[in-house]
Symmetry: C2
Subunit: 320 residues, 2 copies
């Protein structure tokens, strides 16, 4: 009886979970609006209206804000709430949005739709899309360094360092290049980019690094111990992989209207994915096992980790 009670506490129904995601998304949205205003109170001189309009178009009114959610909920695991984690989450979201804008450019993935709206270079022009991305990336670091984001200078520096490492040439940007290479763009890199190990490597850099960064940043703001940080690194590494497997499944099984962008792009591009290598059934089995591994890593946190565990189930069930 005791065991079954604990198990009951340790799961969260999907309505409660969705409400919790929506709550963080709403608070993040409202903070992002402030941060992208003309007078952000950060001692800058005038920001050009057109640039700020395009940045707001890019960032506001869309997205599940799952990276901020992960950051905020990880900090909360250690009893840390308030503005700090929300600000760090907003910085991470700005960085995520920059990567989407540049990724959508004609020279990169050449996408016309994102979150159901015309991409930035379609709604404005390519020059603005380049500059919007550059400005969002830069703003992310400005926000992290601000004293409202973390109690100590050391904490804020760690946030800057983690985000820079995760987003740079040894992380997200490096992963974007390998991803283009996996489509055959750079023949000199094409050899052996198509097996599962390499897909996992590309994924861990391109999307996984930022998901792991979200979790690490929450752990830093929460004051996690070294062993707690280690457990969360295993969890978030599995989460990143699970996200990619699900994305690959949605690219084949999902519909473009739900997702807000074109589907079946990977097959068209001849790109190796978890689905192309293992088939739909194989990818689903893999998703199930990696989800279980993520939950196992949360064991040291007991029932407090119910939300982070719920994020795994949310990912498995999502249709966009």
């Amino acid at each position: 009886v005791q065991g079954s009670l604990i198990r009951k506490d340790a799961t969260m129904n999907s309505t409660a979970f969705a409400r919790r995601v929506a709550g963080v998304a709403a608070r993040t949205e409202s903070l992002l609006e402030k941060l992208l205003g003309r007078a952000p109170g950060m001692g800058e001189i005038a920001r050009p209206d057109l640039l700020m309009d395009a940045m707001r178009y890019t960032v506001l009114g869309g997205g599940k804000r799952l990276r901020p959610f992960l950051l905020v909920e990880t900090a909360k695991l250690f009893g840390k709430g308030g503005d700090g984690p929300l600000r760090a989450g907003a910085a991470l979201e700005l960085l995520h949005c920059y990567s989407l804008v540049h990724d959508d450019l004609p020279a990169m993935d050449n996408d016309d739709l994102r979150r159901g709206k015309p991409t930035v270079h379609k709604a404005y022009d390519e020059a603005l899309a380049i500059l919007v991305g550059d400005a969002l990336l830069t703003l992310a670091f400005e926000i992290l360094a601000d004293k409202r984001t973390g109690a100590t200078a050391q904490q804020r520096l760690e946030l800057v360092q983690i985000l820079a490492r995760s987003a740079g040439c040894g992380g997200m940007v490096g992963g974007q290049l390998l991803d283009l290479a996996a489509e055959g763009r750079y023949p000199q890199l094409a050899h052996s980019l198509s097996d599962t190990d390499n897909i996992i490597r590309i994924q861990s850099m391109k999307t996984g690094a930022l998901i792991m960064a979200a979790c690490s940043m929450g752990a830093i703001l929460g004051g996690a111990s070294a062993s707690e940080r280690k457990a969360l690194a295993v969890y978030s590494s599995c989460l990143g992989l699970a996200f990619q497997i699900k994305d690959d499944l949605l690219d084949v099984e999902g519909n473009a209207e739900d997702i807000g962008k074109a589907t079946r792009k990977d097959a068209t591009a001849g790109k190796a994915t978890f689905v192309s290598l293992r088939g739909i059934a194989g990818a689903k089995t893999y998703l199930t096992s990696i989800t279980a591994e993520a939950k196992a890593a949360l064991k040291p946190f007991g029932n407090k980790a119910v939300v982070l565990a719920g994020l795994m189930d949310f990912n498995s069930a999502r249709n966009s």
Copy 2:
């Protein structure tokens, strides 16, 4: 006699000055080579070779490294030498290089030559030029946050904050947008972008902000007082303006081979510059007066400021 002796001490001949610039440039180059290596010792996973090749192509083997020089010499004004200022200078140079790569893109200024070599999107392709810029910008922040760059966490945070503010939507990137608008690209912004006040505003954001950042960052690492930082802000603001006036003059009077990129672009683009508004003679008079103003701001530092004063003369005399 006393007065003339002081005056003699307070100027530096151009050969000695050039040697000093070359010295900082050589140390910066060698540090940049290390920072753009495959194993930078910053705890990252593998950086893709092709990306690192393109980053090295972009950054190494060119440029006067005047921003690092300004940073290093400002720190030295306060007796602060060593690796910290050199690392901060290298970060600033990476950021400067990123802005050139993105600025050269077809959707932006569409330049084929930079520092006498094909621009990155010509030597590689557009996707790589976008990613190289993104990676350099991100790496700049990673380097600033590293403990080898500044003695205290507070100092390093200030470096991050100054660079982010200077480089972002209220600084360099905002200035790049206004600069495109000044060429008539965005009719909604074109009104009144062509008078001197607006040229100064665009310049102060597009190029001035980073030059002021170099000086501020040196002052922070040197432990400058508030009044010293104020004097240096006046100096560096004049220096930035003087650089732009000189660039505008070189665009009309210089030759492409010396400069390493196309000249007479501004007139072709119908862009208002200091030369188009005041004529060649008027722009030269303006340069002389702003140079004198910069030197006056250095007075509190006495003879120690001989190098920073020399930088003003160097700018007036340069032909590239």
